[in-house]
Symmetry: C2
Subunit: 471 residues, 2 copies
C-alpha cells in the first residue's frame, strides 16, 4: 500500500491470442467475467485493477507450456494462480494478460516414505499433502494461514507456525519442475538431501513470485510424525512478558515446534469465531514435538521460563482433537479478524527481525497502532521474530487507508533499522516494492532486475511484481 501500483500501461491482449487459446484449450479456457474477476484478485487490499483477459485451467505441464508459448508469441503477461490466497497482490493483472490456473494440477505424484520426500503438482494444497502422507507416518510442516497451494507457497517462500523448528519453503523444497518464460521445461535440484551442483536454481525460483516461470512440480521434504506432541497455551500480564519468554526459549536452544503469539484482541476474535474460552490476555500458543521424555523436558523448561515472566500456568491441549481445535482457531485468526469488522479489508504487515530486537520492534509499533485509532490485531510467529499487525480498514475510506499505510511504513523502517526484513513470509508483490529497495539497496534490486531480464526478456511472467521493470 505504501507504493501506489506503478503506473504502467495495461498491455493489450489481442483477439487472435484469445482465439488461439480458446482453440487450443476449449473448455479449459474461460473469458467469462465471473471467472476472470475471481482470478484478478486475492486476499490483499488491492481491489481496483481490471481482471485478466482470460483464464487457462492447466491440467498438465504441456498445458502450461502451450499457454506460455502462445502468450509469449504476443508478448502478453502470464499470471500463475493457485488458490488465490496471496496477501500481497501477486495475482492481480496489473499489466493485463492471462491467468494460468494450476488448481487442477492437484495430483500427489510420488511419495517416497523411506526418503522422507513427496513430489506433487503445484495445485495440491498443504492440507492435501498432509492427508496423502499421514498414513505413512509423515507430515509436511509448512502451514500458512490459508490452505494454500504448494506452487503458490513455493513461489512466495511461505512459512507459518512450524517454521521455528522446521524452516520455511526455502529449506523444504528439494526440487522443482518449472516452465520458463520461453515455454521450456527445466528441472532444478534432485531428491538428494544436499547438493553443490551449480547455481541453486531451486532457491532462485522459490520466492520469485511467478516472475521467472510457472512451477509445475514440487518435491518437498517430509518429517516423521513425532512420537509425542503436546500443545499448551500460556497467558501473560503483558505483550512484553510473552515476547521476553519467547526470546529466552530460542536463546536456550529449546527445539520448540511452534511458538505463536496472539495479542488480547486476537484471542478475543478467535474465541468468538471458534467458540473457545481462552483467557483474553496476551498469549503464547506452543507445541512440543519429540519423544515423550523430550516433550516433557521441553515443556518443563518453557514452563519455568514463562513462570519467571509472570505467565499463568499452562493449559494443555492433551488430545489430538483439542490440539486441532486450537490450531484451527489460530489458522482462522485472520478470517476471524476480518469478520470482526464487516466489510473491512485487512492490511497485514509482515516484518521479521533478529530475535533480540523483537520486543523493541513490537512494543513501539503497538504504541503507534494504539494511538492511530485504527482497529487492529497482532499475532506472530514470534519464535522466528516474525509478526503480523492486521489493520482492519474500511477499504473505501482513504483516510483509514493512509493511516494504515503510515503505520506499516513506520514499522518497516523500524524493522530495517533493527537488522530485519520487510517480509518474513508473504512476499513483496505489489505492496512492498519500495520497502524492498530500502531493505536490499538499489544495487541488489538491480541484480534481481538483471536476472529477470536474462530469464524473461519480454517481461511476460507476472510483470509488475517485486520490482518495477519495463522489460
Amino acid at each position: 500500500m505504501n507504493a501506489p501500483i506503478p503506473a504502467v500501461t495495461l498491455r493489450d491482449t489481442p483477439d487472435h491470442l484469445l482465439q488461439a487459446l480458446a482453440k487450443r484449450f476449449d473448455k479449459q479456457f474461460s473469458q467469462a467475467m465471473v471467472v476472470r474477476e475471481q482470478h484478478g484478485r486475492d486476499e490483499s487490499a488491492f481491489t481496483h485493477v481490471p481482471p485478466p483477459a482470460g483464464v487457462v485451467f492447466a491440467e498438465t505441464t504441456q498445458d502450461v507450456q502451450d499457454a506460455i508459448r502462445l502468450a509469449a508469441s504476443a508478448h502478453v503477461p502470464v499470471i500463475p494462480f493457485g488458490v488465490g490466497s496471496s496477501l500481497e497482490g501477486h495475482l492481480l493483472a496489473v499489466q493485463g494478460g492471462i491467468s494460468v490456473d494450476v488448481s487442477r494440477m492437484n495430483r500427489v505424484l510420488e511419495i517416497n516414505a523411506e526418503d522422507l520426500t513427496v513430489t506433487v503438482q503445484p495445485g495440491v494444497t498443504r492440507m492435501a499433502v498432509n492427508a496423502a502422507v499421514k498414513d505413512h507416518g509423515l507430515f509436511f510442516p509448512i502451514d500458512p494461514g490459508a490452505d494454500a497451494s504448494i506452487g503458490g507457497m513455493a513461489a512466495t517462500r511461505a512459512s507459518g507456525t512450524n517454521a521455528v523448528r522446521y524452516g520455511t519453503m526455502r529449506e523444504n523444497v528439494l526440487a522443482l519442475e518449472v516452465v520458463t518464460a520461453s515455454g521450456e521445461v527445466i528441472r532444478t535440484g534432485t531428491r538428494a538431501k544436499k547438493s553443490s551442483a551449480g547455481y541453486d536454481l531451486t532457491r532462485l525460483m522459490v520466492g520469485s513470485e511467478g516472475t521467472l516461470g510457472v512451477i509445475t512440480e514440487v518435491t518437498l521434504k517430509l518429517y516423521p510424525l513425532p512420537e509425542a506432541v503436546s500443545a499448551a497455551v500460556c497467558s501473560f500480564p503483558s505483550i512484553e512478558a510473552a515476547v521476553q519468554t519467547t526470546i529466552q526459549i530460542i536463546q536456550m536452544g529449546v527445539p520448540i515446534a511452534r511458538c505463536e503469539f496472539l495479542d488480547r484482541k486476537s484471542v478475543a476474535m478467535v474465541n468468538k469465531y471458534a467458540q473457545l474460552t481462552l483467557r483474553e490476555e496476551p498469549m503464547l500458543l506452543m507445541e512440543f514435538h519429540g519423544s515423550p521424555a523430550s516433550v516433557k523436558e521441553q515443556a518443563e523448561v518453557v514452563q519455568e521460563l514463562a513462570s519467571d515472566m509472570g505467565g499463568q500456568a499452562f493449559e494443555w491441549a492433551t488430545t489430538p482433537e483439542a490440539r486441532t481445535k486450537l490450531w484451527t482457531a489460530r489458522h482462522n485468526a485472520y478470517f476471524a479478524a476480518i469478520q470482526s469488522r464487516p466489510g473491512c479489508r485487512a492490511i497485514s504487515t509482515d516484518t521479521c527481525v533478529p530475535i533480540s530486537q523483537l520486543a523493541n520492534c513490537l512494543l513501539d509499533s503497538v504504541k503507534e497502532a494504539d494511538a492511530s485509532g485504527i482497529p487492529y490485531f497482532l499475532l506472530g510467529h514470534v519464535g522466528d521474530g516474525n509478526f503480523h499487525f492486521g489493520y482492519l480498514i474500511n477499504p473505501d475510506d482513504p483516510e483509514e487507508r493512509a493511516k494504515a499505510e503510515q503505520l506499516n511504513e513506520w514499522l518497516v523502517a523500524r524493522a530495517l533499522r533493527l537488522g530485519g526484513t520487510c517480509t518474513g513470509e508473504h512476499g513483496i508483490g505489489l505492496h512492498k516494492m519500495d520497502f524492498l529497495r530500502a531493505e536490499a539497496g538499489d544495487e541488489a534490486v538491480n541484480m534481481m532486475r538483471a536476472i529477470k531480464q536474462a530469464l524473461d526478456p519480454h517481461n511476460i511472467m507476472n510483470p509488475g511484481k517485486i520490482f518495477t521493470y519495463q522489460g
Copy 2:
C-alpha cells in the same frame, strides 16, 4: 577428470594492468612465481595449468572492488582464493588472470550471541569462527575436512559431518556482502531468520563458486553448544550392515548430529595416521547432541538398531579430549589416505543419493572399485546419503587416471539414475561439468549461463568453472 579442461584460449594479462595493480596495491600485490604457483593450485588432481599472472592480497572490501575494477577494465579474469582447499580445481587460472587472496580479511566482525548469528570476513576459517564464539556458549557446525575459509565454504556450498542435523552452507548463511563483476558492492539477506523479500540472492551466491562475484562478508547462523554431547564408534560385519543401520536411524527421525561411515581401509589409515586403535572393520562414527536425557535416549535407540544389524557394542568417547581426538582423526582421513601412498593424488568422488538408495549405490560401486585394482578409501556423511570414494592414483600414470575416471563416471551415472546428485558438497569446478549437464539437463545449465551472462557479461569472475561459457 571426466571432462578434460575445456580448450579455451588463455587470456592475456596485459603489462599495463599488472603495473596498475602494483601501483594500487604495492606490497599487497605479488608476481613472485612461488606466490603465483601457490595460488594456481588446490587439493584437486589438476596440476598442469599455468599459475595466475599475479596475486592481490585484499585486506578490505575496497581492495576487492579496486582489484575487480582494474581487472574488469582489461577483461581479465579474477579468481577468489581463501585457503586453497578446493577439491575440484576451483582455484586454477584456466583462462589466466589474477588471484584475489582474501585470507587477510580474517576478522570476526560481529557476534550477536542473543540472535545466534555471527558476521565474519571471508578469510576467517571455520575453526577460527568456533574459537571466537565458544565463550558465548555457541558453535558453528559446518565442517569440511580442511580448515576452510568461510568465503570458500559459502562459494562451494560446503557441508561436512554435522549436516545431517544442522544443514549445509545453504541453510546456514543468512546474509552476504558481495563485490560483483562490475566492482559494485551488494548486500543480500539480513540477520532476520527468514525472509520473502525478493529473489534469494544469498542462495544464488552460495554455491556459485566465485563465478558471480567475490564474497567479502558472511553472516552465519550459530547454535547453542549442546548441554550434553556423546560420541561413539560402532563396528559392523559389513558395509551393508553399517549403511542399513544409518538408513533406519534417519527414517526413524532420530536427531543424530553426526553419522559418519568409514570403510575398513579408512579406519586402518586413520589408525596409523593418528595412532588410534579402532577396530579395523566397517565403522560408524556417531555423535549425539541434546539434553542429557535426550542424548541417552537417542543413543539407546541407535544402539538397538545397530545391534539388530550385527553391530558391535558401542565404544564411547566420553571426555571432550577423546571426542576431539576421534573427530580430528576423521577430519584427517583424507590426508591420512594421501600419506598412505607416497606421491599419490586422490581423486575424490562426491555423489549424494536419497537415503533409500544409499546401499544400492554404494555396494555396486565398491564392487567396481575392488575390481579395478586402484587403491582407494571410502568414507561418507552417510546420514545425508553423501559419500566419498578416494581413488589414490599415481598422477603420472595415465592408465590409473583413466581407470579412476571410469570408476567415477560409473558411480555418478548410478547416483543420477537413483535420483541423486554428482556432488553433495565439493562443487562442480573443473571436474564435473559434464556430470552437471547429465544431472541438471541442458535447459537448466543454459539458465545458469544466462544468469552468468547477465551478471558478468565479460566473463571475468572465475571463468571456466561449473559450465563452459565463452562470455
